[in-house]
Symmetry: C2
Subunit: 198 residues, 2 copies
DNA sequence: ATATCAAACTTGACACTGTCAATATCACAT
DNA sequence: ATGTGATATTGACAGTGTCAAGTTTGATAT
């Protein structure tokens, strides 16, 4: 029996190996350094092997982004676990958001750097809802009559996402870099209190 | 006389022509399509000519980003001109922010997509303060004792920047795309009122 | 056991990219 | 007029993504 593709062929799990190789390369060489041929070499296969598992470079990047969104979601869940109240949970998720972006900046840029048209062929995989579900749930307790869920979620997501990208790029918000990273983060996230309290 | 480099050589103003060619290419072919050789061809020079005016592709991108930040600043200024009060001015700037990102998405991505290490050689040119000065001034009236300027500015910038990037990428905030663009924007920007009023 | 066959992988080629070295050309000061 | 330095061209090189063709592999049917 065992009709599962456990080790169907030569390499076996080349698809997963290529995604992991891509994440490793992103970590060491940055987004610019991510290359089909380097991924193939790192996985120990020839340069054209990835074509049998992904639709070119865009397809590989889409799969990496999808896998990265899973890690991203787990990081946010872990950072918000054990929160005392709803607000602490929301802030914990934002903390996980920032920490993930800081720990894996190139993967983060890949995940959120897609253009509209690049997105089409991997629309199923690159589903933003995947990672944002946890953020959405954390926003739910604060929904009010005059603040519907999509608006509140957009406000919170925009704040944390904008802060993560601007602060981590290093080119902007330079006055904030005088403060310790954690302190700056907490002061900016104080805007959440004002957004959320009626 | 005339020691100004009005038309010093073969092409004359190749540097400016290359920057303009780059902006045109960004508009038509996207960030991925921006190429040293295409810029050179569009400016009518050979493929290696740009090397005499920019430090490689990174240098050209830095110069384009610098020029884009000037356009960006002007767009924000124009959008906020004639505002009735301080809050309307701040919202006008945010409107200009979003409109610019929507009108020139590839240029916007280039301006804000730089990594830390790519930034070094063009640090003088790619000065984020350049464009953010107008946003900073619009924030000034709302500074309070318990809300120092750098924190308030970071909150406002993060909100509008995060919204612009997330909304325009098309992969996220999908529920918001059901609303008309202007209406969605205004509802999200309502968070500014809460940030700013004491 | 043997033949068959499709999937997985390799090899080789192509056009395109950024970058460099060598060369040519022009403007201008002397 | 003569040289000098900035400006531009040409040619080459290593990498890149992608495609076409061939080769290996392993499962399945007979």
């Amino acid at each position: 029996m065992n009709h599962f593709p456990a080790k169907p062929h030569h390499h076996g799990a080349l698809r997963a190996a290529l995604i992991q190789a891509g994440i490793d390369i992103l970590q060491s060489d940055g987004l610019q350094g991510l290359t089909l041929r380097k991924c193939a070499a790192r996985a120990g296969v020839s340069h054209a092997a990835p074509a049998h598992h992904f639709d070119g470079l865009v397809g590989l990047k889409g799969a990496i982004a999808h896998h990265g969104l899973l890690l991203f979601r787990d990081a946010m869940l872990a950072a918000s676990a054990g929160a005392a109240d709803d607000l602490a949970q929301l802030k914990g998720i934002c903390q996980g958001y920032l920490d993930f972006a800081a720990a894996q900046p190139a993967l983060f840029r890949l995940m959120f750097g897609f253009e509209k048209h690049e997105h089409r062929k991997v629309s199923v995989e690159l589903d933003g809802d995947l990672a944002y579900e946890v953020l959405r749930e954390a926003c739910a307790p604060f929904v009010r009559d005059d603040l519907p869920a999509p608006i509140l979620e957009a406000q919170v997501w925009s704040l944390i996402h904008g802060y993560a990208t601007l602060y981590l790029s290093g080119n902007f918000l330079r006055e904030l870099h005088a403060l310790p990273q954690q302190q700056a983060f907490e002061q900016v996230m104080a805007a959440l209190d004002r957004m959320v309290t009626r």
